[in-house]
């Protein structure tokens, strides 16, 4: 679909302009390979920090089941923890290096993705980890943030909605841009179609 192609293109341009990284995947196998590559890449970047590598991921339809626990990086052991509403998940997420989530929609003209807080779609994997991998199905793309806001269910509204437009950043010291101040320093979007 041409229209959707244009949205994808625009999204990638804006997302990367804000400092995000992106992958395009067509079909399940490409999606899996993209995720595998993204995970390997962030582990490589983290290598000085040492193991263990824990990933918290949404275990719901927003994140396709790719047999996540089989994804590792050249022999580096990765522990995959599904998001669940348990007391420990907070500490586990705080100690993880990567959060994997889906998104409710993505706006191409600003390069933004939106997440709604619900028991099975927690926001903490997008907040506490130094890296955040977001799976964006092509059909979730809209053009403007306004269109996205219109999609949010109103009765009732999700208690927390979060729109992410790039990595966590600050320029508070001498006006110099630094990423990863509180939230993820790198955000990676995989735009896919299965």
């Amino acid at each position: 679909m041409v229209e959707n192609d244009a949205l994808v293109q625009q999204f990638v341009i804006r997302w990367e302009a804000m400092g995000g990284r992106s992958y395009l995947a067509n079909g399940r196998e490409q999606l899996r390979r993209a995720c595998q590559h993204a995970v390997g890449d962030v582990i490589w970047k983290q290598s000085s920090k040492g193991a263990p590598y824990t990933v918290v991921y949404w275990n719901n339809p927003d994140v396709p089941d790719l047999d996540w626990s089989a994804i590792d990086s050249e022999g580096v052991k990765v522990t995959w923890v599904p998001w669940a509403n348990t007391g420990e998940i907070r500490q586990i997420t705080a100690g993880s290096f990567l959060g994997v989530t889906g998104c409710a929609w993505a706006a191409s003209s600003t390069g933004s993705v939106a997440l709604y807080s619900a028991p099975e779609t927690g926001l903490l994997p997008s907040v506490l980890t130094p890296y955040h991998l977001i799976l964006v199905p092509r059909e979730n793309l809209v053009e403007t943030v306004g269109e996205g806001l219109e999609r949010i269910p109103r009765n009732p509204l999700p208690p927390l909605v979060k729109i992410i437009t790039g990595p966590s950043m600050t320029a508070d010291i001498e006006g110099i841009l630094v990423t990863g101040v509180h939230g993820p320093g790198q955000v990676i979007a995989v735009i896919y179609e299965v």
Partner: protein, 488 residues
């Protein structure tokens, strides 16, 4: 009844505040750089994203209308929040707002609070109020954290620590690390200093009993508080602590979700020249029973502190301000003196206007005269079309009419105006100046003057009044010969 607001006030007189700022080269370099860069970025984002302008015009209209219906919308907002399990409070005065937050904290046995950046809480001096009650308050915006550690005030709405260089920040963090028993940052590289802050504040987020945020918008229809940040600290503060308190000025109200759709990009576009900030967080309710994130208890404190008094006045449009900081970045005076010299919480053109208006000219009434060159750059920059220069002129006038200017200045200007109202009076002052100038003359130039005039000479000199002025020469040589220029 009109409620007159209160604002914190620097006890130093303007001359000291101004000279202090002008002598601070770190602050001037950083503020100069940051303001010019943000100002340019703002122009670029509008050029590349024309829809932003359509949205802006629509938002100006929406915001004006919302302010007209403020009372109704606040009632609707409160109902909506309460329907979703939150609590709301309306604080008429700054002190009331502090009392409300303190009571919430005390009742829940709160000991540690994490905060996002909020001008409203600076305005009511909430931190001091909580700390005095034995509650630990930690600012989590990096710039705010730096100045909190240093015991200072923000110098820019969006870049609060712009007056500190990396060496000063490293020194502060080394001291902070000792107290927190952490590894100090190993260099003054901003990336390393930021990483230190990340690790340091992470513990605070996870341990805090209560989070406090400000708010960029309140949506009456849905009972939502919208918070915009680039760092992501609002996401921590809204999702981790069990209690969330949002302290927001009443004027942040929007009628409905539709209005939010149009205005949501404006703070980032105008403040930092981005289409949207990194994080937009919308809070509309409390944590689900079996949930692990979001607040279990949510309190929204709506602060008036002199705002509603501006309704139906010529200054009503001031209540449309979205605190983007565009007028600060455009202002040639702000670019030189930074925020501290203004002496209260709000600085730049909007600071001049709001400090005087919220407090009915009781706090720092000199601002409209001393901190504006009437260049109108702020009027061009303001996305909400607030008539900032018009208000500044009007405040100058009001100040004189209500005798809020210094007595000496008032008498001097009145006398001067009376003299120069006639040619005769003008010539009389010239003769007086010629007589009096001997005391102030050095190296052939006037170096100072009497009374108020001495201030003018602090940065300037002036040629002395000539032994014979042109006017005097004219009337002597051509006067009385019937030519049309007269000279009588």
């Amino acid at each position: 009844m009109r409620i007159i607001g209160t604002l914190p006030q620097d006890p130093r007189p303007w001359s000291e505040r101004r000279d202090g700022a002008l002598a601070d080269t770190t602050m001037r370099t950083t503020i100069g750089l940051v303001t010019r860069r943000l100002h340019l970025a703002r122009q670029h984002v509008y050029r590349d994203f024309p829809m932003g302008e359509t949205d802006r015009l629509r938002s100006v209209k929406d915001k004006r209308e919302a302010i007209k219906n403020l009372d109704t919308l606040l009632a609707e907002f409160r109902r909506s929040v309460e329907d979703h399990g939150g609590h709301t409070y309306l604080a008429s005065r700054a002190g009331d707002a502090v009392d409300i937050v303190r009571t919430i904290a005390k009742t829940a046995g709160v000991r540690r609070v994490v905060k996002t950046k909020s001008m409203a809480t600076e305005e009511i001096e909430l931190n001091q109020g909580l700390i005095a009650s034995g509650i630990e308050v930690v600012e989590t915006d990096l710039g705010e954290y730096i100045i909190q550690r240093a015991g200072e005030k923000p110098s820019h709405i969006l870049a609060p620590a712009a007056h500190k260089n990396r060496a000063a920040v490293q020194q502060l963090f080394q001291w902070d690390a000792r107290n927190a028993r952490m590894e100090p940052p190993e260099s003054d590289d901003p990336a390393i200093l930021t990483r230190y802050a990340r690790e340091r504040l992470r513990q605070e987020f996870l341990q805090a009993d209560m989070g406090i945020t400000g708010g960029n918008f309140l949506v009456a229809e849905t009972g939502s508080v919208v918070i915009i940040t680039n760092e992501g600290n609002a996401d921590m503060v809204t999702s981790l602590p069990p209690i969330l308190v949002s302290v927001v000025g009443v004027e942040k109200i929007l009628t409905d979700w539709q209005s939010l759709m149009h205005i949501i990009q404006q703070p980032a576009m105008n403040g930092v020249g981005q289409r949207l900030s990194s994080y937009t967080t919308i809070v509309s309710g409390i944590r689900a029973k079996d949930g692990v994130e979001g607040p279990q208890a949510w309190h929204v404190v709506l602060v008036d502190n002199g705002r509603t008094a501006l309704q139906n006045s010529r200054y009503e449009d001031v209540l449309s301000c979205i605190r983007c900081g565009a007028c600060l970045n455009a202002c040639p005076v702000f670019r030189e003196i930074g925020g501290h010299a203004y002496g209260s919480v709000y600085s730049g053109p909007i600071g001049i206007v709001e400090t005087s208006l919220l407090t009915d000219l009781r706090v720092l009434p000199e601002l409209s005269s001393v901190a504006c060159t009437m260049c109108h750059a702020c009027a061009d920059a303001c996305p909400m079309d607030i008539d900032l220069p018009g208000h500044i002129v009007s405040l100058r006038k009001e100040k004189v009419e209500r005798h809020r200017t210094a007595k000496g200045a008032d008498l001097t200007y009145r006398w001067w105006a009376r003299q120069w109202a006639t040619a005769k009076g003008y010539r009389r002052t010239i003769r007086m100046a010629r007589f009096g100038q001997r005391v102030y003359r050095k190296h052939g130039l006037l170096q100072s003057g009497p009374g108020l005039a001495s201030g003018w000479f602090q940065t300037r000199t002036m040629p002395p009044v000539a032994g014979q002025t042109f006017g005097e020469w004219w009337s002597k040589t051509r006067g009385g010969e019937g030519n049309e220029h007269g000279g009588k």
